[in-house]
Structures are given as C-alpha cells and as structure tokens.
Amino acid sequence: MFGLSRRTLVGYLYVAPLLVWLALTIAYPLLSTVILSLQDIRIIGTEGSFVGVDQYRTILTSDAFWSSTGRSVIWVLGNGLAQTLAAFIAALLLREAFPGVRIARVWIILSWIVPTVVVVIIWRWMLSASGGIVNYALVSFGVVERPIGFFSTGTSAFASVILINAWRMFPFMTVIMLAGLMRIPEELYESAAVDGANAWQKFRHITLPGLQPVLFVIGLLGTLMSFNTFDVIWLLTGGGPAGSTTTLPVLIYDTAFKQYRLSRAAAMSVVTGILLLVFALTFIRLMSPRTEEQESAL
C-alpha cells in the first residue's frame, strides 16, 4: 500500500496515537494562541472582535512586559549559576565510592520529585519571620539582630525565590552531571597525573571537555525548565512585592486570570515563544557538541 511495507505501516500506527495527542494538545493550541492574540477577549467564553496587532503594540510598548523579560533573564541566569555550581559539587561528591553511594545516587533527586507546593510550604515555614528556624539560627548566632522578612523587599525576595528554586532543581542537574562525569575514563586522569598535571589542568583539559555533551543538555533543558517556573514564584511571593518577582510566566498568568485580559496574555505568550525559539536556535548553533555522536545515539 503506497509503497510502504505492512511492517512500516504497523510501526506508524503505533506512533500515531501519541503524535495525534501531541498535535491536538500542543500544536493546535499554539496556532489558536495566535488567533486569540489578534482579538480583544477579556474573559474566556465571551466574544471578542478582531483588533489586529493592537495587543502586540500594547505589550511591546509596555514597561511591565520588558521589565518582566529582564527579570526572566536574571531568573534564568541566577538559577543556572546556582544550580550548575551546586550540581557540579554534588556530582563530584557522588562520583566517589563510599558506603551507601548507590542509595545516595538515587535519593539525591528527592527535592525534584516532591510537589512544588510542598517545597513552598517547607521554605515558607523555615524562613518565616515569626518563629522560622532560619531566622532563629541567624539571630542566635548573632548574624542579624532581629528576624529578617525574606520576602518583604524586592531584592531579597527575588534572591530567596531563586535559591529555593535552585534547591528544588539542582538534584535533577546533579543526576545528569554525574552520568556525564562517570563517562570520563579514569585512565585519562591517571595518565594526566603521571604527566604531572595539577587539579586545575585536569579540570580544564579532561573534565570540562568530557562534560560538554552533558553541559549542552543541561544548558538547553535547564534554561527552558527554569524559564518555565511558575508555581514556586507564584506561591511564595505572588510576583511581589510590588512586582519585583514577576517573571514572564507570572505576568502571563496574572494578565489572563487576575486582570482578565486573555487576548493580551495570548499575545504575550506568542512573543515569549518567539524569544525562547531565538534563544534555543542560537544555543543549539553555538554550543552543539560534535554531531556524529548524536547521530549514532539513535
């Protein structure tokens, strides 16, 4: 039939349900976002009229959108730095052999698999200004005189949320980083030691190049995953105080479901999608590891 063997046809039949599902719940909605963004719907279910690119004009000239974009960039960079650093240290520790290492390599991922709302409850409770254990420790060790409201000023709220999110996500990065480290043959380090290489040289010439494929995955996936973070920020600060933790996802949610401007939020989604696409393509072009290895993976 159509020059395809029966076997191939059966193969496509097996993949089809998943592809159709993804087309209906990802591809189709993406197209409909564009249509929504050209109207002026406020609350879903109500009728809107076609207004062309008005929403885009409003967004692209609004401070709120661009300052949220800026915050998203800081958010992604801050998270990337904190997570990569923590993950690298954790992966170096877990690469060693010690009693219980097999259990540790699995359970390190704990904070990544618990519901975000639990993460939020944990840190709200620990960082509480009235009776939180972190403030208690800081006061008793004389670091501060009185309890700090971690979420009460803009800068400290943003820093706190970044660190809490990094705490939640770094174990995921650790697992991937560890897999990368384990692929670097031990002999390379041994022969480098024979040649008298110091720790930095080993890191620079063996570890870093060896980690490149994994760093590529972490850089791309990690950025997109961090960018997408909504619930941690929303539940910890609601985007405040005074908008200081409103990243793009928070702005989109708030615009659609608190300010009831659905079409405007749709337009924001479109612009955000384009920004992310540009990022992803640039990243792939610049950082992609040698392709032969990729091709042979499949």
Partner: protein
C-alpha cells in the same frame, strides 16, 4: 583508588553538607507536624520533638476538605498514568525497535515537546477546554497532565527498549508471532522496570501539577491536593500544624512510589540525557 587523609576529610564534610541540605528541610516539616501547636510556634525551636500528637493529622483527615483533594488527585494521577502508558508503550516500541523510516525526525519532535515550556500553552489550553466544556472537570486535568508526562516518558523508555537483544524478537517472529504478540508477550515483560518508571513518573507529574489545576478547576469538590494546600497557605492566619501535616501526607505517596522504582527511573533518565 586510595584516598589521602585530606581527601577523605573533604569528602566526608562535603557529603555531610549535602545530606544536610537535601534532607533537613524534610526532617523539619515532618517532625514539626507531630508536635502540639504550642511547641510548633515556641520561641525556641526544638530539633527533637518534645511532644507527640496526631491532632493535626486528625484535623486534616476528619475536619477539612483534604480527603476530597486527596481523592481527586489520586483519580487524576491514576488516569494520567494509564493513558500515558497506553500512548507511550507502542510509540516507544515502534521508535526504538522497528527501524521505522523517519524515526529520527519523530524522535526529535517528541524531544522538542518535552522541552516545551508549559506556560505557553496555558492560555490556549484553557480556552480549548472552555470550548469543549471541560472546565471544572477532572478530565481536563488528565488531558493536560498526559501531554506533559508523555514526551519525557518516551525519552525514559529509550534506555529500556534498546537493551533488548534483537535475536529474541527475531526468533519469536520465526515462530510466527505478529508484532502485537511480540510487543505484548516479549517486549512488555522485558521492559517492565522501564514501564514501571514511566507509570510512576506520570503519576508524580500529575500529583505535583499546580498551574493548570489552579485555573481549570473552579469548584471545591474537584480541587486537587496542590491547589487545596496552596489555598491554606494563602490564608491570613496560617494553621502551620495543619499545613505541615498536609505537606507530609502529600509527600508520602511520592516517597513510597519512588522507593519502588527510583533506581530504574534514574538509570532511564541518565541514559536518555547522555545519549541524546
């Protein structure tokens, strides 16, 4: 490799710090949840509980809406798990075992959907559910959760499907088994650990989901655990005992399920990451 004394010292200190950072927050909420209210809010925190009381759990299960949230979350998570397995098992089989023309492109499409930021779908999926009249139903949540669990599930399965030697399938084919029989009787039993990880990944994805649930569900009777708990967080006077008990109960199923398949889950995750 033999470690020097200094290296052992650094390793022990480092591991202790890691253990502290990862586990202490969980220890702290759990032990606090079994304290009496006076001890929870005491000016001097007690690292080891000085009182023991299940009153917060009693209140949570008997005089709050939590059991309703728990039931909804469980139903949605089980359905998400079932649908994800039904969609992903045959797809992974065809992609990884059948040398399908264009499978690389298909695999890439699925990878892209995995990295796809869910926030971009919030508005259109909401409006789609609205036109399908699925707002305020648990079906809407199942649909959304499957969409976010499935691509990663296919990714996870790669490692498990590719380790099966082709001879096993070939000999079954020689014995006259068709593709479906091979899938059902040979591949599925051999990839059971992978399928179990995928099932549990789908369950946990659904169990954790907050953003879509917070807008797709309107009535209290269909609320899931994350949204329900978040409602308590947002109250003016936070009942910490109740909230900590709720957080502990919410974490428990994740721990139990992960204890069963955690090892396979991690190996699937790393194989996918290192290869692709």
């Amino acid at each position: 490799m033999k470690r020097s004394r200094r290296a052992s010292f650094v390793l022990i200190v480092g591991l202790a710090a890691l253990l502290f950072v990862v586990l202490v927050p969980f220890y702290w909420i759990f032990t606090s949840s079994i304290k009496i209210p006076q001890e929870i809010i005491a000016r001097t925190p007690t690292l080891i509980p000085q009182s023991f009381s299940l009153q917060h759990y009693d209140k949570l299960m008997n005089s709050s809406q939590f059991p309703v949230y728990l039931r909804n979350s469980t139903m949605v998570a089980l359905a998400t798990m079932g649908v994800t397995l039904l969609l992903c098992t045959p797809a992974a089989y065809a992609l990884y075992r059948m040398r399908l023309p264009g499978r690389r492109t298909l695999f890439r499409i699925i990878l892209i959907t995995y990295a796809f930021p869910g926030i971009l779908l919030l508005i259109p999926l909401y409006s789609m559910m609205s036109s399908l009249r699925l707002i305020d139903t648990l079906y809407a949540l199942v649909i959304v959760n499957v969409t976010f669990a499935a691509p990663f599930a296919v990714w996870l399965l790669q490692a498990f499907f590719q380790t099966i030697p082709p001879e096993i399938e070939e000999s079954a084919a020689l014995d006259g088994a068709n593709r479906l029989q091979i899938l059902l009787h040979i591949i599925i039993p051999l990839t059971a650990p992978g399928l179990a990880s995928v099932a549990i990944f789908a369950f946990i994805t659904s169990w954790t989901e907050y953003m879509f649930s917070s807008v797709l569900i309107i009535s209290e009777q269909y609320r899931t655990v994350p949204v329900g708990l978040a409602g308590i967080v947002g109250q003016y006077q936070v009942d910490w005992g109740l909230l900590l008990a709720g957080a502990s109960v919410t974490t428990l199923p994740v721990l139990v399920l992960f204890a069963l398949v955690g090892r396979y889950f991690i190996s699937g995750l790393t194989a996918g990451a290192v290869k692709s």
